[in-house]
Symmetry: D2
Subunit: 127 residues, 4 copies
Amino acid sequence: MSSSIDIGPFATSLGLQLDVADGDQVVADWVVGPHLLQPHGILHGGVHCSVVETLASVGAALWLGDRGRVVGVSNTTDFYRATTEGPLRSTALPVHRGRSQQVWRVQTTDGSDRLVAQGQVRLQNLS
Amino acid sequence: MSSSIDIGPFATSLGLQLDVADGDQVVADWVVGPHLLQPHGILHGGVHCSVVETLASVGAALWLGDRGRVVGVSNTTDFYRATTEGPLRSTALPVHRGRSQQVWRVQTTDGSDRLVAQGQVRLQNLS
Amino acid sequence: MSSSIDIGPFATSLGLQLDVADGDQVVADWVVGPHLLQPHGILHGGVHCSVVETLASVGAALWLGDRGRVVGVSNTTDFYRATTEGPLRSTALPVHRGRSQQVWRVQTTDGSDRLVAQGQVRLQNLS
Amino acid sequence: MSSSIDIGPFATSLGLQLDVADGDQVVADWVVGPHLLQPHGILHGGVHCSVVETLASVGAALWLGDRGRVVGVSNTTDFYRATTEGPLRSTALPVHRGRSQQVWRVQTTDGSDRLVAQGQVRLQNLS
C-alpha cells in the first residue's frame, strides 16, 4: 500500500521511507545523510521544509482521493534542534480538511524522541 | 567573490548559481530540472522553501560576518504559480537585521518575471 | 491565582476570563460580543490573533517566571470557521520552551467543540 | 471615499483612520492609545495583527468589488520594535491577487519611519 505511493524524484532523493500513508496520517522514517547538510555539517533547514511538504501533500491527496487533486499554497516550518546525523521520524496529521482547503501539521523527532522540526502546510483542493 | 561561497551539498544539488551575494542582497539563478519535481511534473514546493532558506542564510551570514554565525529558526514560504520547467531567479533582501535576530525575504520569479514563490526566514545571530 | 494575572487594558477589553494559567497551560473562556465583529457581523480575525497572542504571552511569562520577561516576535493565526456569536474557549500549550525562545500554540473552539481558529506565537526570553 | 468605508466596531475601536483605500493600496494612520497596551505599557501584539487584518481585508474587498466577498484564512504578523506611544502609519499592498485567493502585506512604521511590525494576510475570494 504505502509502498505503492509515488512521491516523485525530489522527495525520493531525500530518502523518505513511508511507513504509514492514508488520509488520516502519514509517517515516514529517514536518515540525516551527508547529501542533506548545509556547509556547517547541520541538516539543511530546507530539507525539513521539504519533508513537511511531502508528507502533508501525500496525506491531503489520499484524503481527497478521486474527488480531485491538491496543490500546496504555503509551508511554514520551524526548526527546534540542529541535527547532524542519525534517524528521524516525521508524522503528518490533519488540522483541517475542508471542502476547498486542507491544513496538515508535520512533526519531526529524532532517535531520542525530541522535537527537531515542525511545520504546517496549507493545500487547496482542486476538482 | 560569490563564487567562493560554500553553500554545502544539499543546496548545491539544487543547482543554485549565486550571481550576487553580500550582506545586503543575494541573487541566484537556477533551473527547474527533472530531479526537482514532485510526481505530477511540477516543481516540488520543498525546493522553493530550500532556495528561500539558502539565500536568506547566505545573506544573513555575510551581514553578520566575523561577529558570529546564524542559525535559521523558521521558514515561511508561499507558492503562487506551478512551474514545470525553465529558468528561475531568486532574490533575497533583508527585512530586519537586529542584534539578536534577522529576517530575510526571498522572491522567486520566472523567465517572464512573474512571481512564482516568496518566503521569509527568521535567523538567530549566535556569537 | 489566575484571577491575579494582569493582562492589561487591550486584552481585558476582549472579555477574556482566564480559567487556568500556569507555565504549562493557559485556558480562557470568552464570548463573541458585538464589539468584536467586523462589518459583516463575523468575529474579526484580529480578535483571534489577539487572543492567541495574549494566552501565549501569559503562559510563556509564567514559565519564565523570575528569570526574565518575554516579548513576542511573531504571531501566525489561521481561521477555520466564521463565528457570529456564542461562547469560545481558547487553550494555549507550549510547543517549545528553550533558553532563548519559546513557541506556544493556541486553539480556539466553539460551544460544539469545533476548531474555530488556531495560532502560534514565538516569544523571546529576555533576561 | 475612504471615509465611507465601514470597518466595523472592532477595527473602529482601534482608532484607525483610513487615508487611502482602494484595490491597489490601503493606508491608515493611528495612535498608540492607552487602551491598546499590554500590562508592561507596550502596544499589544494583537493590535498589530488586527491592524494588518483590517487593512488587508479592506484592500482585498475593494479589489474584488462586486465579484464576491473575501474571507481571511490566515494572518502572519512579525513584531520588530516595541512601541509605547505616538503615531503609527500602516500601509497595505497586494502580493498576489488571484482568482480564488489574495495575499496582502501590511507594513507599520513609526513617526521616525522605522519598521515596527509587518504582516501578511491570505484571503479567499468567495463568489
